[in-house]
């Protein structure tokens, strides 16, 4: 197998791929990062990273030469999503990499309200989140390159969960704190994909002798609702699932002021000002905010209160599981692990991280 280049290797997906590669030795990788910081979570291996900036094709080309596949795992500013994709594509073309895999997101289809959505459907690009719009725009641009020399596979994972993922840690922590909540009685669809199942999709592409340009939704095999997911986590933590608060739709109301603030924040001018603001100015603004929100000076009984965000309200309202059978039809050798098996592993990780009700320390777990 020719090496797989990971652009943005220091993130969650890249770290797991590198961990697997180091431990099992079955995947040759070229991890590419753009800062020393990105090496932090990989420091235990003592491996060398290649340097490259996704926004600068010339910086990527030397590392990409000889690779059989390049995977775009970059995360960061939403306003860089499209330009980074163009830049990575240009670098693949220049370096002669035959296959580029772009990690898009199931979020391009929002709440999946259209029941007849197919995997080859084009996202409409009208998402309220800039992230969703930018991911859709990147897909549109990549599809326009279908006649080009680089085969492009677009993968749209749902919520990536697994040991250490924020989609595991945050629900677990909120269940532990008593602040977990579910809208719509938790009946919304939770479009999950475990990190190891996601890695299997990438390996299938890397091992396949022929790959055609296409887009695939990728997901765990099971169809789960949010309540299924939260209850499974709660069971691993020995927490009574009935402590998860069920909220009516009316519990989320976006105030007019918030809408205006959000609209203003999305303006290019606001973003440009924010980007150019120096640290001293940011600090002064923070200090001003503190004047208006100083913590109470008396002892206060702590009453767990859910912190409701528009994103959580939105995502818990997902109507349908996205169709995700096309990948397995095209690459029938793929074997996904079951949710029950993977949740057992996630439970081991939660105990390692101390996210459990049992007050007695459960680690060092080697004892």
């Amino acid at each position: 197998m020719k090496p797989i280049a990971l652009i943005g290797a220091g993130g969650y997906v890249g770290s797991r791929l590198i961990e697997r590669s180091v431990l099992l030795g079955d995947i040759p990788l070229v991890p590419i990062v753009r800062s020393y910081r990105a090496e932090g979570r990989l420091a235990r291996y003592g491996i060398r990273m290649a340097w490259g900036d996704a926004g600068n094709p010339a910086s990527l080309v030397p590392s990409l030469i000889g690779c059989g596949m390049a995977v775009n795992l970059t995360m960061g500013d939403d306003n860089r999503i499209v330009s980074d994709v163009k830049s990575i594509y240009a670098a693949c073309r220049e370096a002669g990499v035959p296959l580029m895999v772009h990690m898009s997101s199931a979020e391009v289809f929002g709440r999946a309200e259209d029941r007849v959505l197919t995997e080859q459907a084009m996202p409409d690009g009208r998402h309220w989140m800039e992230y969703g719009r930018a991911k859709a725009a990147a897909e549109t641009w990549l599809r326009s390159q279908s006649a080009g020399p680089v085969t492009v596979v677009i993968l749209r994972p749902g919520l990536i969960w697994g040991p250490g993922s924020s989609w595991l840690v945050q629900p677990a922590q909120s269940i532990l704190d008593g602040t977990a909540f579910l809208f719509h009685e938790g009946r919304g669809i939770c479009n999950l994909i475990h990190i190891d199942n996601l890695v299997e999709h990438l390996l299938q592409l890397a091992r396949s002798p022929t790959v055609e340009s296409a887009s695939y939704n990728i997901a765990d095999a099971e169809t789960l609702t949010w309540v299924d997911y939260y209850h499974a986590i709660a069971r691993e933590m020995d927490v009574d699932p009935s402590t998860i608060q069920m909220l009516p739709d009316s519990a989320f109301r976006e105030r007019a002021a918030q809408k205006i603030f959000q609209a203003l924040s999305n303006l290019s001018l606001s973003k440009a000002i924010k980007r150019r603001m120096n640290a001293e100015t940011k600090r002064r603004i923070k200090n001003l905010r503190k004047i208006f929100s100083s913590p109470p000076s008396d002892n206060q009984l702590i009453v767990p209160q859910p912190v409701i965000s528009k994103q959580m309200w939105w995502i818990q309202g997902t109507r349908h599981k996205l169709p995700a059978a096309a990948f397995a039809r095209r690459y029938p050798d793929i074997k996904l692990r079951s949710f029950a098996d993977l949740m057992a592993g996630a439970g081991e990780w939660l105990r390692f991280a101390g996210v459990q009700l049992n007050v007695e320390p459960a680690w060092p777990i080697n004892d």
Partner: protein, 363 residues
Amino acid sequence: MKNLLLIGAGAVVEHNYRYPLQHLERMGVIRVLGVIDPNEGRARAISKFFKSAKPYTDCETCLGDGNYDLAVIASPPGMHASHACAALSFGCHVLCEKPLATSLYDIRRMNEAARRADRILGVAFPRRFHAGFSDVAKLIAGGGLGENMRFVYREGSAFQWNIASDAVFRREVSGGGVLIDKGVHMLDQLYWLFGGPIEVETAFDDSHFGGVETNAALRLGFPLARGSLQVSWEYALNNGLHIWGSHGEVTLNGEDMLGYRSRTSNGWVRVPAKSDWPADLEEKARKRICPSEGIDCFEAELVAMLRSILYGEPFPVTGNDAEAVLEAITKAYERMEPLDKPWLSEAEESEAHSKHWNRGGLR
């Protein structure tokens, strides 16, 4: 007015020291005269923030050129000892970033140099200026939590420091990974709360040959408490310090510097902290500060160091305290065993164990 020298001009100075020093300079209590960094561009970039500062690439030349009262050392940890000893030999007081050094030999050398020069060797542990922690230290010292205390202290998040080099990931320069980098703060806080010596009962980490650990877990004994410490550069953990005693139970979280939580018969209560520190250099401080942000802790710490020089007030962490903490870290590294990660496949975990840097105790 005290004259200052900055040794090291990397991310620590950029993010933690620059603003407090600029503020103190505006207050007219200090003047930064020199900035040393082997990377001339870095030295020049930082020196531009201070009216009278000159950039240098060489420590000896800089020390010989000026007359400094205080050297703030923020170079890579493996170089702290030589930089501190040089500054002390030129008559400077020293405030050195954590970890004070990467070996006990170096710490002892630094303590001896400070004693010979009759100068203060302070160690920068800004968490000593978290009011919540300070209040809990007083609570414990006053017997408020009773006896037979137990604790769990976890701190983890994906590595976020915008570092200027990879020195922190090279064992020969940094002395280790997350334990000596972040765990040293936690160990210093536990030493503050529960006293020394520190006994290391068990130690586990995940470093391979050629790397440094990104996860570590220790079981520790102190004169006043026993418990566990877990630290990670990789994962968000259930962060915070939880202490159980015969008379009470409290939790502390770095995100809330201004208070702590105490369990009562009605449930958990947030207790606002009362500790504060001088914010000026008047002999009887007119202004006091209760930091709510990390950067404010650095300013309080610099003020404490200057007051220590001016009025002989005790500085929270000396070279001797740092020696007790580094002794524990050294013991931990000597006995590190592979950390279990049971969520990995059997084949992966077995391979991880076989690649452990301290396999069979033979590094």
